[in-house]
Amino acid sequence: MAFSLAKRLVRSLAVFIVVTFAVFSLMYGNGTGIAHAVLGLNATPEGIQAEVVKLGLDQPLLVQYWQWLSGVAHGDLGNSFYTSESVSSALSNRVPVTLALVFLTLLLTAVLSVILGVTAAVRGGWMDRVLQFISVLGTAVPAFIIAIALVFAFAIHWRVFPATGYVSPNVSPSGWLASISLPVLALLIGAVAGAAAQFRTAVLDQLGRDYVRTLRARGIPEREIIFRNVLRNAAPPGLTALSLTVFGLLGGAVFIEQVFALPGMGQMANMAAQISDVPLVMGTVLVVVVIVLVVNFAGDLAITFLNPKARTR
């Protein structure tokens, strides 16, 4: 098992390098333009050239990438071209916002989708149909449209609490909860819709299996069968569904941050990419890829742990 672990690690590293290099090369090449924009409008050609060298933008692609990569290995993510602020510091302000949003949503999604998925699979009937209906709606309407609808309802129509904007938890925990509840709701609907449906399928799949029939034939109460055996065996596909949810949430966070004006890393990446502030974009990509790889890894680890076949080998 240690060997396969090592193999996975190497593979993850390879994925990391390929992805970051791909994004890096997309943004490569516009050294003079960036320098000009950094300096402002009445910059002189000499000034621009000096700035290009200062930012290291005259080097070839591989060299620049290598510099960035070795910086990362030392914990130095570089500095923003425009503000000279260190990328790590910028990220440390923004990543928690996005992560809090994503993982709060994930937690609620896990709880709700298990409850809804199991209920729909076991009860069937109208409850199942309701879940399927909500599930379709939830996956059909994009999260940012749900977000807009929420802003419409709360900011325009009912004029309740500040619909958009962010309050840091350091400043006020209750304010933070208030500012994050609508964004979480916007993401939650789509996430639960997807995850609950997958979980329902997993549970239904287990319910149709022979061993469940045999357990029933032994006289074991249905409730015990569901909560012990079925859930246990439906856990691996459920975990897979949840890790897919994380990826969806990371992507959706960019839109949600835009609608609700949350100072998260998605918004930062959006603005940084539009002005070619490469270090900031790369910093965000780094964080996202690491999260993706870690979640994948953790998910696989958990599933392996749950699978007796893998454990006893």
Binding site: N30, H36, L41, G47, E85, N93, T164, G165
Partner: protein, 512 residues
């Protein structure tokens, strides 16, 4: 002289590419609130719609720069008309044919790290400005003399004319050691406030406490200053309405809503003129534009009153000239020689031989209100068979491309300046960056040369002549005056003065 603030893709409120300028009397002045000013007040909470870029003085935004104004003083501060007012320098004069700025630094001033404010520090700051940041060209070749710790004189290689005040007042004053360290994480200055790093989070909220030893302490009644970063307009409006902030810029669409709320007032600046810049008057790139009749025709296809009413919800004023009311170049009572008359415009085009029209590339950029303006402008130009092709400018090259001359004709909500001479320099002389084709013109260039050395009255007369010439020659197609809208809680805050040359927002010193 204020550097052009960098334009980034910015949400709703939009960053305005402006020139330094001054407020005019006609801006909706705000009267003092019922509550008293002068006594000490607890806290002023402002919101800014974009974050700023750290504490590097060469990198400060020219727009919503309250944080910089809080922690740093300057040698002098320009007033609404771009004229220098005392700041760290209590006495100063312009000599040597508008080439030298001589100043005496106030006695006994100290920076927040305890070191004294002296001419050595000021010299270091000017040197820094001449080598860093986008405005460094303004300080190229300056010579600084420091006869003693409290006297300094800065000499430019050429006559600066009316812009010398701007240039002298721009650099922020801080210890030389701060600049040498290049760390820029915590500002050191002699300003009216000191940054409280413990209570600040970059990108979110900045807290400042009052510097009671400031020479002008009594001008800043608030003991604590808090600046929040709120990028969403809806969030800003909500925050204002619920009292979480005291004042903020609001976007055009929100103005009506904000005005309807109790205890809120809106200052409607008119720091911008929406216009087409028709900079190829020699017809080098687009021959049609070189033809006066064509330019005049273009001026006549826009129903300015309808634009003000519909596209700006009434928060705009039709105009026939590009300069702000009350400035030197402004011509009182000028009749718009190009009234809205599509038929006449068409016949002008025919006379010029362009009844079949031509193609025109108009650049656009996000956050500059093009979604609202472009459809109408496109449609109206189409009446003259001018086919508009929109070119969205994006990415890091956007500003560079905009000003490169690739697009001789540009639609922009360009700023008008309180110092209209400066505006002439920037828009109408070959050296100016908004004179996109940089084409010489005998009439304008010769008068500008005189303005650099003339006395104020003559300068004003010359400026009006240039204005009239531009109108006659249809160098622009001005449409409306409009500007930013600044909303504030009138029961708590009052804004009795307006010191912003650019007429975009009140300055920190205007809040009482």
């Amino acid at each position: 002289m204020r550097r052009i603030p960098k334009a980034f893709a910015v949400p709703v409120t939009g960053l305005v590419l402006v020139l330094a300028g001054c407020t005019s009397q006609t801006a909706a002045g705000s009267s003092p609130a019922a509550s008293s000013s002068g006594g000490e007040k607890q806290q002023l909470t402002l919101a800014q719609t974009v974050d700023f870029y750290g504490w590097d003085p060469s990198n400060q935004p020219g727009f919503q720069g309250w944080a910089a104004e809080a922690v740093w003083d300057q040698l002098c501060k320009t007033d609404a008309n771009g004229k220098a007012q005392p700041d760290l320098a209590d006495k100063f004069e312009v000599t040597n044919g508008n080439k030298t700025f001589k100043a005496h630094i106030r006695e006994g001033q100290k920076f927040s790290d305890g070191t004294p404010v002296d001419s050595a520090a000021v010299k270091a700051d000017f040197d820094y400005a001449s080598k860093n940041g986008g405005g460094q060209a303004d300080y190229k070749g300056i010579k600084i003399e420091t006869p003693d710790a409290n006297n300094i004189s800065i000499t430019w290689p050429e006559a600066q004319g009316p812009v010398i005040d701007n240039k002298a007042c721009n650099p922020k004053i801080m210890p030389a050691s701060y600049l040498a360290a290049k760390k820029f994480d915590k500002p050191v200055g002699s300003g009216p406030y000191v940054l409280d790093t413990a209570a600040s989070t970059t990108g979110s909220v900045y807290t400042f406490t009052k510097n009671e030893n400031h020479w002008n302490a009594k001008n800043y009644p608030y003991k604590k200053l808090v600046i929040k970063v709120i990028t969403s307009d809806t969030a800003a409006v909500s925050a204002l309405k619920t009292g979480q902030i005291d004042a903020v810029l609001v976007a055009q669409p929100s103005v009506a809503q904000v005005e309807a709320s109790p205890n809120t007032k809106v200052v409607k600046f008119q720091g911008q003129t929406t216009r087409l810049l028709l900079t190829d008057h020699l017809g080098k790139s687009i021959p049609a534009i070189g033809n006066l009749k064509v330019r005049q025709a273009i001026n006549m296809v826009f129903d300015k009153a309808a634009m003000a009413k519909s596209l700006y919800q009434g928060n705009a004023e039709p105009t026939g000239q590009v300069f702000r009311k009350g400035t030197d170049a402004y011509i009182d009572g000028l009749q718009d020689p190009y009234p809205f008359d599509v038929a006449k415009a068409k016949s002008l085009m025919a006379e010029a031989g362009y009844s079949n029209g031509f193609t025109l590339n108009l650049p656009t950029m996000t956050g500059q209100n093009f979604e609202t303006l472009m459809p109408y402008v496109t449609q109206q130009l189409a009446q003259l068979n001018i086919k508009v092709k929109q070119v969205p400018l994006t990415g890091a090259n956007a500003i560079g491309d905009l000003l490169s001359g690739k697009y001789p004709v540009v639609l922009w909500q360009l700023g008008n300046l309180g110092n209209s001479a400066l505006q002439i320099y920037i828009e109408s002389t070959p050296a100016g960056w908004w004179d996109l084709m940089h084409q010489p013109d005998q009439y304008v260039d010769s008068r500008w040369k005189q303005i650099t050395t003339a006395d104020p009255q003559t300068a004003a007369k010359l400026q009006k002549e240039i204005n009239q010439y531009q109108v006659d020659q249809a160098w622009f197609a001005p449409m409306v005056y409009m500007g930013t809208n600044y909303a504030y809680n009138s029961s708590k805050v009052s804004i009795p003065t307006e010191s912003d040359q650019e007429a975009l927002t009140p300055k920190l010193r205007d809040f009482k």
